[in-house]
Amino acid sequence: MTKRLTGIAASPGIAIAKAFRLNNDHYETAPEKVADALIEVERFRKAIEEAKLELEEIKDLTEQRMGAAKAEIFEAHLMLLEDPDYIDAIIEGIEGEGLNAEYKLHEVARSFIEVLSSMDNELLRERASDVRDVTGRIMSRLRGVSYAAISAINEPCILIAEDLTPSDTAQLNLDYVLGFVTEIGSRTSHSAIMARSLEVPAIVGAGAAAVEIKTGTMIIMDAVEGAVLIAPSDEEVESYQARKAAYDQRRVELRKLLDRPTISADGHRVELAANIGSVEDLQKVLANGAEGIGLFRTEFLYMGRNALPSEEEQFQVYKHVLERMDNKPVVIRTLDIGGDKELPYMKLPVESNPFLGLRAVRLCLSKQDLFRTQLRALLRASSYGQLKIMFPMIAVVDELLAAKQLLQEEKEKLVLEGIAVSETIEVGIMIEVPAAALAADFLAKESDFFSIGTNDLIQYTMAADRMNETVSYLYQPCHPAILRLIQMVIQAAAKEGKWVGMCGEMAGDETAIPILLGMGLHEFSMSASSILPARALIKQTSHRDWAGYTEQILSLSSQSQIKQFVEQKTRSDLK
């Protein structure tokens, strides 16, 4: 029977090959008395010098293959080779106790690794793996063996290891290494990040059973689903070969859509945008062919610190995003705090129903100084690109009018100060409260656009917290109640000639996309990695057909019936 392991699909892809178990047991070592401590110190110093040369080479290699930022980790490794508390402590140990270099190296390194791996901070815990990596490198120089033996691989394989150190990952020969599986690790560990930038399939955190896989065992790694099949049957290999071919083919097809507009099979154009939460997400947005940013959550500017961000600080961030997006539309949402997102330094009173309390635009309207600062920063940034400002959680027209009034006041002040402000900033709102959806016709007169925030809209409509497992079954994006609200919003906006986007998770959902396309949604904003699959789906979907199905869909009484309907129609589209 095939044994099956599951792990985290850290970098997608499918690989089928023999396993190569990486052996990094450089640590087992015993104390031995040496005849001449000075000669032993010399031997240790030589190992350090050799390790330095190796690291310099790996650093250059990484810089060429993955860029300077990724190579920085090796600078940290080089610094370790000069660290007095690490290197000098070993040398003093050899001299003072007359013990062998391997043992002292092991002992000193272990004490640091133990302290670092027990720290609360994940970033500091990861430093333990740097010490392990550098120690392994010095150890193998002392023993005269090549570190990790990765460079010796000369036939196709899938690497199996406890964890891949940064230097292992940097040296992978991608002609032979088709993927890797590790026992430990998370989506954000070094090996995972590097695998994604090298585009090599990786499964991390597959558990202790992973490292028991022996070199030479046939394995299939499905880094789309996060599964590892050990010693698969011929049928399984065959079936996965077909899946791999289809997967690879699809990747190639998707890449072709990178710079194409998003047009349905019958020529209807929509816009695919990305949701971002910080500037770091921009790289991924640009690499995945987004036509704009449909939601920039500004909360990160306010969270994880102990004072409000200044106007200047915010201005710099907004300007940076607008400039990087090179005049593509960027919808920036004003502060959406409260509910489950707290700002301890603001010392807001504890509410018994925070999701129904003073949050988002409600909070901003009650703390006008904070709101005005953000509005000023946004207005100042507006001349650097195509900015659209969006207010979250609007429930009634008065809130929108009040927010617009403040925006107007700040704009006039800036103009008086002689600061350039764009004349074409669109101002819109999130539709995430059922009241806003039901009264969208009034709101449409006062907004330039709507963006439907489905995560909250569904929670408020169903009166169910989707994080609460006992009621999370009520989180049903394709429930008729939700679809009817969405349709009302789109129709109300259309009457006023306004556009409607969606920035909740539903916008990237393959079942919902054809329905939304048929209803006339203009913009779909999703996580960057969903953009190309969504573009491919829309390309083979007829807007006209699905517009014709809307009435039929809305007459079905449950999400399951609706999903079934979509599945049937989508399948017939593909014929």
């Binding site: 920085e72 600078e75 940290a76 610094m79 370790l80 660290d83 007095p84 508390d85 690490y86 640091f112 302290v115 670092l116 720290m119 609360d120 901070n121 970033l123 500091l124 430093r127 010490v131 994880g304 610190r305 102990n306």
Partner: protein, 87 residues
């Protein structure tokens, strides 16, 4: 020997990059620099030992400087601890 206490302002605390900047700066001074947080005192010239202090934002950190150029060192290193890590 002189010593002074500073509050770390960097929101992400004191890991790889800030530590590197700090340790490199310490290396430019001839004097001995100890960094103290709570009960623990480490050598400011060792990035590894610095990491084991697990310095976070708002931590009070004391610098103890002894030797040539100590005045200059405490001034510049204190400023680094307080400000530069707001990157």
């Amino acid at each position: 020997m002189i010593s002074q206490t500073f509050t770390v302002l960097n929101p992400s605390g004191f890991h790889a990059r800030p530590t590197k900047v700090f340790v490199q700066k310490v290396g430019t001074f001839p004097c001995k620099v100890n960094v103290i947080k709570g009960e623990k005192k480490v050598n400011g010239k060792s990035s590894l030992s610095m990491l084991t202090l697990g310095i976070q934002q708002n931590d009070e950190v004391t610098l103890e400087v002894d030797g040539e150029q100590e005045e200059q060192a405490i001034k510049e290193l204190g400023a680094l601890l307080t400000y530069i890590f707001e990157e």
